[in-house]
């Protein structure tokens, strides 16, 4: 099983690379990004991107929740439902329980690199078959979206 997973991941890497013509070739890519590869080895569950550490606080910041909801409705809702139903992309229910906050925010703000290099992101692409678009979301806005996701997952 473990073996099979490795093969799948490898296959999906190859597939992703072959489908993104604007990217440099894979060999060069992996060389160029050794430093970030090391980082992601350090904590692969945080993903790859500008977000290294997020501090969560309780209770939720209601201002953030409100802003996050507005951004969600404008830029995310077309593909992501709030329940567990997958439409274009996966539903958001329990996403904050499945993923590290850093991973979520890196996926939102650094999606092209994530889809090319992060094994978890690549698994999702294999499942959904549509590359998640870069929706031009800043790190601050991604943090607001994260707060809204926490609310959606029942946090207060």
């Amino acid at each position: 099983m473990k073996h099979l997973l490795k093969i799948t991941v490898a296959a999906s890497v190859v597939w992703v690379v072959s489908c993104s013509p604007e990217k440099p070739r894979f060999e060069e890519n992996s060389k160029k990004n050794t430093s970030s590869a090391v980082e992601s080895v350090a904590d692969p569950t945080k993903g790859i991107g500008p977000v290294k550490h997020v501090t969560l606080s309780t209770p939720l910041d209601q201002e953030r929740v409100k802003r996050g909801k507005d951004i969600y409705e404008m830029k995310c809702e077309a593909c992501h439902r709030l329940d567990d139903q997958r439409v274009v992309g996966p539903g958001w229910k329990d996403i904050t329980k499945r993923r590290k906050p850093e991973w979520i925010m890196n996926m939102i703000t650094n999606v092209d690199v994530m889809l090319d290099q992060d094994p978890e992101a690549q698994k999702l692409l294999e499942l959904c078959l549509t590359r998640m678009p870069n929706q031009n979301v800043s790190v601050g806005d991604a943090r607001d979206i994260l707060e809204f996701m926490r609310r959606n997952d029942g946090e207060q």
Binding site: E73, A78, C79, T130, P133, N134
Partner: protein, 656 residues
């Protein structure tokens, strides 16, 4: 690689030498590694953008140099069903005029904006010849953002030419026409009633917004081309004039009688003084001013009704005439601003005037007479010298940074390089065939970028594979780096190329707009997210607020539309990533499709004629599931009670 090229060229040369059908086979001309000089490897960028007018296609094409690859064809004065320009509700007002909606025009001359006489990479201006207008194209979006109509004008040919800081864009009429209240006059009253008009369009230095500051009323003949002075001659404009015979029929004979016509020198600073002193007369006219707003993604058209006119026959000191042999066409000012080159189409020599000598002649009143009250400067007094026997049929001149001029010769079909100071002919190369305009990158500016000259030819004959009676249009690229010009490349063009300008790629490429931020979209019918997607009926008008994102349209099931409705599909592209436009088309639409850029909203008006089910879909291949990006609209008969319904993702209730 090198070896491969060599063999290839050897083979090519052999074919050319053996083939007897090429008049003067270019084999001899394209030696010396021409292929490697125009080869831009896959994934690499060109060195220059080349903005080439499309002539009768009314558009502005963008090529890369030195490769000659076509990047874009920007719709300006002509509708473009490919992206909905002139068909979408937002862009229709761009083509409004005092005559109504004009879907086509004839675009001859682009002019790139300058600051201090050098390219600044902000805007391109262009002229509509037929229904006189000037357009402004934003070089960060490569889109037409403004069009202003020109009253009192007929055949807007000497246009658009710009001053060194883009203070003014000028637009001179080709045809003189009757002006004033009564325009229903006999054609034979030309000398009495027909006048020329030169429009001075002021350009806002921040926004680029145009308005007609004033018009010069000038003698009735033809105004052909123009250039602004620069450096020492900044403050002046020069126009070539023909038909000083004032003929109104069979001009090819009747307008070719005089030995000399004129270059009209205009002191526009003097005109500004008269304007400030209140010497302008307000006249009643009608002209359209159309502006595209990047925030509402919509154009508006305003009809204006007044223009201020300065009559140069009554106000001395604005205009002087320089005699110029035989129907001058090009009228080009060198990079120093000192020399003005006149190109008499029918002349065997080319006069080069000196701005300094012209000023002295004016100060000394060194005139040989006057024409309709306007002083005519003595030819010899303003003359720097003549280029003797340069070729046949000189048309246009561009310049490099080393004091050389490049003139196109239509009749003898060649480019001639000559030195502006010494007037010596230095080199000549054939063009295939019958060159019209030519372009040196930065050629009309104070600092030409040089490196190439491009010929825009009028005839291609046997240069390309035949395509029926209508053959392809073409340009030719020559290197001007060495002493000898060298032909490097033929490349086909679309429309008929007239003038063109080229600008270093680095001045534009990093300023290119990638997306329209959805947050800033102020379109009145925007849907900022699927939650806002909906359908609203107001009488017979139905507004569909639709969103597009990979890979679905929302709503994608619409019912309750009726025959006789005006259905407005307002489609917002929710994507915020570069290079992800979506398209929208619906069966039976009598207009076109929409192409909607990321973050933009565009509207297609659809008037269903018959009851039934109408498929609609995304036309721009956007994702692996692009073929799934589709929907249905149900149209019921007029007066039907089918309730208005819309949805995505769950089926609309059946059996209604």
């Amino acid at each position: 690689m090198k070896k491969y090229n060599f063999y290839f060229m050897l083979a090519a040369a052999a074919v050319m030498l053996s083939g007897g059908c090429k008049p003067q086979g270019p084999a001899g001309v394209t030696t010396g590694g021409a292929a490697s000089k125009v080869y831009v490897a896959p994934g690499q960028y060109d060195e220059f953008y080349n903005f080439v007018s499309g002539g009768f296609n009314g558009q502005l094409a963008v090529y890369g140099l030195p490769s000659g690859r076509l990047f874009r064809n920007i719709p300006v004065f002509s509708v473009n069903p490919e992206n909905g320009y002139g068909y979408s509700e937002e862009t229709k007002p761009m083509l409004n005029t005092s005559h109504g909606f004009v879907p086509w025009d004839d675009f001859h001359h682009p002019a790139l904006s300058t600051t201090n006489g050098e390219h600044d990479g902000r805007w391109a201006f262009g002229n509509a010849n037929n229904t006189p207008r000037v357009a402004r194209i934003d070089l960060s979006t490569f889109r037409t953002v403004e069009i202003i109509e020109l009253p009192n004008s007929g055949g807007n040919h000497s246009s658009p030419f710009i001053t060194e800081n883009t203070e003014y864009v000028v637009a001179g009429t080709r045809f003189s026409v009757p002006v004033g209240e009564n325009r229903d006059v006999p054609i034979s009253s030309y000398k009495e009633n027909f006048k020329g008009t030169i429009s001075f369009i002021k350009v806002d230095p921040q926004t680029g917004r145009m308005n007609i500051a004033f018009q010069l009323r000038t003698p009735g003949f033809n105004y052909d081309l123009s250039r602004a002075g620069k450096g020492p001659s900044h403050g002046w404009f020069f126009f070539s004039c023909y038909n000083t015979e004032q003929a109104y029929t069979l001009l090819e004979v009747n307008a070719s009688r005089n030995d000399k016509d004129f270059i009209m020198a205009v002191n526009w600073k003097k005109a500004e003084e008269y304007l400030a002193a209140g010497k302008g007369k307000t006249e009643k006219v009608r002209y359209a001013h159309n502006v595209y707003d990047e925030k509402t993604h919509s154009a508006s058209s305003t009809i204006l009704e007044e223009v201020t006119v300065l009559d140069v026959m009554e106000l001395p000191g604005i205009v002087y005439f320089l005699p110029c042999p035989k129907s001058p066409h090009g009228c080009d000012v060198d990079p120093t601003g000192e020399y003005i080159v006149g190109s008499g189409k029918l002349a065997a020599l080319m006069p080069v005037f000196s701005f300094t000598k012209m000023q002295q002649a004016i100060a000394n009143k060194d005139f040989e007479g006057e024409f309709q009250g306007i002083p005519v400067i003595k030819y010899e007094s303003a003359l720097h010298g003549e280029v003797q026997k340069p070729g046949l049929g000189p048309l246009h001149t561009e310049f490099d940074a080393n004091g050389n001029a490049y003139t196109s010769f239509f009749v003898s079909s060649e480019i001639v390089k000559w030195n502006v100071k010494t007037l010596q002919v230095l080199d000549r190369v054939p063009t295939y065939y019958s060159i019209g305009h030519l372009c040196v990158p930065g050629g009309p500016t104070k600092k030409p970028h040089g490196k190439y000259v491009i010929a825009y030819n009028k005839i291609t004959k046997d240069r390309y594979l035949p395509t029926g009676p209508e053959l392809c249009q073409s340009a030719q690229l020559y290197s001007i780096d060495g002493d000898k010009m060298q032909l490097l490349l033929d490349f086909p063009t679309i429309g008929e190329p007239h003038y063109a300008e080229a600008i270093p790629a680095g001045m534009l490429k990093d300023k290119s707009v990638k997306i329209y931020p959805i947050e800033e979209n102020q379109h009145p019918y925007v849907a900022k997210g699927e939650k806002m997607a909906r359908v609203e009926r107001k009488g017979n008008d139905v507004h569909v607020y639709m969103t597009a994102i990979r890979s679905h349209l929302t709503p994608d099931n619409i019912e309750g539309l009726r025959v006789g409705d005006n259905v407005y599909f307002h489609v917002t592209n929710l994507e915020q990533d570069w290079d992800v436009p979506h398209g929208f088309a619906i069966k039976g639409a009598l207009n076109a499709e929409l192409l909607i850029m990321p973050g933009e909203t565009q509207t297609l008006l659809w008037k269903p004629q018959k009851a039934g089910i109408y498929p609609f879909y995304c036309t721009d291949f956007c994702s692996a599931l692009h073929q799934e990006m589709q929907g249905y609209a149900r149209v019921s008969p007029a007066g039907s009670g089918t309730p208005l319904k819309f949805s995505t993702g769950e089926p609309a209730a059946a059996n209604q």
